[in-house]
Amino acid sequence: MNDSTAMEKQVQAMLSIIYQVPVGIVETNAAGLITQMNPKGVQLLMPFFMQYDLSPENNMLLLLDKMLPGINTAISSFTNESGTIVQQQNYQVELNFQNRQTVRHFFFTVNKIDSDTLSFMFDDITAFYEREQKISQALQDQAVERSKFEMASGILHDIGNAVVGFGSYLTKIKRQISQNDYDTLKNLEGFFLKHQPQLISCFGETKAHALTTLLQGLAQNQKNSQDELQKALGDQMNIVTHISEILTLQRQYIKGQGGSQRAKVGIRDIINDCLPMLMATFSKKNISVKSTLPFDLPLITGDKTRLMQVFLNLLKNAAESINTDHAGEQKIEISAVAHPEELVVSIQDTGSGIDADVLPTLFTRGITTKTEGNGLGLANCRSIIESHNGRLALQSEGPGKGATAIIRFKL
């Protein structure tokens, strides 16, 4: 191999390296005239040269004057013989070319090599910048979510304490009314009966009998009032116990928020936990709920909090679709069947049904048939179910014919 061939090989090898340098490098004289430039530099700056119609000038300072004038100011106010003028500074710049308008983010480093040489190093960091922004936004959203759950948890805790206090108060009242005057009145009645002859001699027969009868009536009234009060208090205590159970469940599920926790979960348990939370809604609308979930349904791996969100949402939708003015029995039927490869859960309602035209759009974010909905419920439900290797579908034979939500989990 002769010297020129060896030199040529070296040049070509060097070119391969220069061509792969991942940042733009430009060298200019003091007036900004470009003396050296790597291909990445051309790739990044050519659109801007074209944008500002500067191509023939081939002058970096003229370009920066239009593109990033702050850098030119820094260069002109730098009085040292050599040194770093701009160190890894990030800049935002608008790129408008051939009807494409975008905002790009660049970093620039500018060095003064000597009195007549400037070097510029730069890169388009838009993708990196946008990724950083997304991460930052996600962290912010996460913090907001966490604080919401902390707040909700705090509120539930306070309500829980108030409910416990109310329950204790009811217990106290119940205890107090059990120590009432009924027994005393009965004793007095017994005393009067025992001493009936003496009473007759004092008041006469008619009055003595009337007095005893009055006493018997008073005792019976007292007994009736006591029974009614006991019953009412019992009902109140049952309601308080029910509220406490719901609060405990809510708190338990809130604990699981803010992170995905996958474990073996039972769909039957999750649905059974949902039902008490919606019992007031069902009862208000006189909806009968029939749940036929076999005990031996296979467990699935999932996040019970997220799955509970889904089933609460679907059951709530089913209840909301039911019009109370509608004649006939209104009901929601929940059933599940385990096949060898999948677990199928159905929630069928006798509600208003869904128009065939609307059906395909219901899982699109922002689409809702409710007057106060935001169209996120079903889209979120589907995305949660899909993250559990499942599928969620809605079926309806049309308006007025009810609807069925079908959830399939792969086993």
Partner: protein, 120 residues
């Protein structure tokens, strides 16, 4: 081969001719597959860019041989099915900026796509 840089029927002529015949043309010719892999790289192009044909053929033009063109002004234009555009651009000979005029050529009727380079 003999042809003008802006000739209207140049794409057909280039497609018919073979690689060595491009060496007689006074402008640079880069013949690529539609994936951007160089199949011919003529002498003039080699002189403008400083890359020998041996170091160019078989490589991806926009990312390995001329990354200066890897932007929406040049590389992304080849996403079009039909393309015949001329633009003023800049190449680097080693690292010396060289003003050039580019002609971007592509057609559904041809197997290859071309980049023609003329020194301004």
């Amino acid at each position: 081969m003999n042809a003008e840089f802006s000739a209207t029927d140049l794409l057909t002529s280039l497609e018919i001719a073979d690689g060595p015949s491009y060496d007689t043309l006074p402008f640079g010719v880069v013949k690529m597959t539609k994936d951007g892999i160089i199949v011919a790289y003529n002498k003039t192009e080699s002189e403008i860019a400083g890359v020998t044909p041996g170091n160019a053929i078989g490589k991806h033009f926009f990312t390995q041989v001329a990354p200066c063109t890897n932007n929406f002004m040049v590389a992304e234009r080849y996403a079009s099915i039909e393309l015949d555009e001329e633009i003023d651009y800049m190449f680097t000979y080693i690292v010396s900026p060289t003003k050039v005029r580019l002609r971007l050529l592509k057609s559904a009727k041809c197997k290859h796509q071309y980049l023609l380079v003329q020194k301004s």
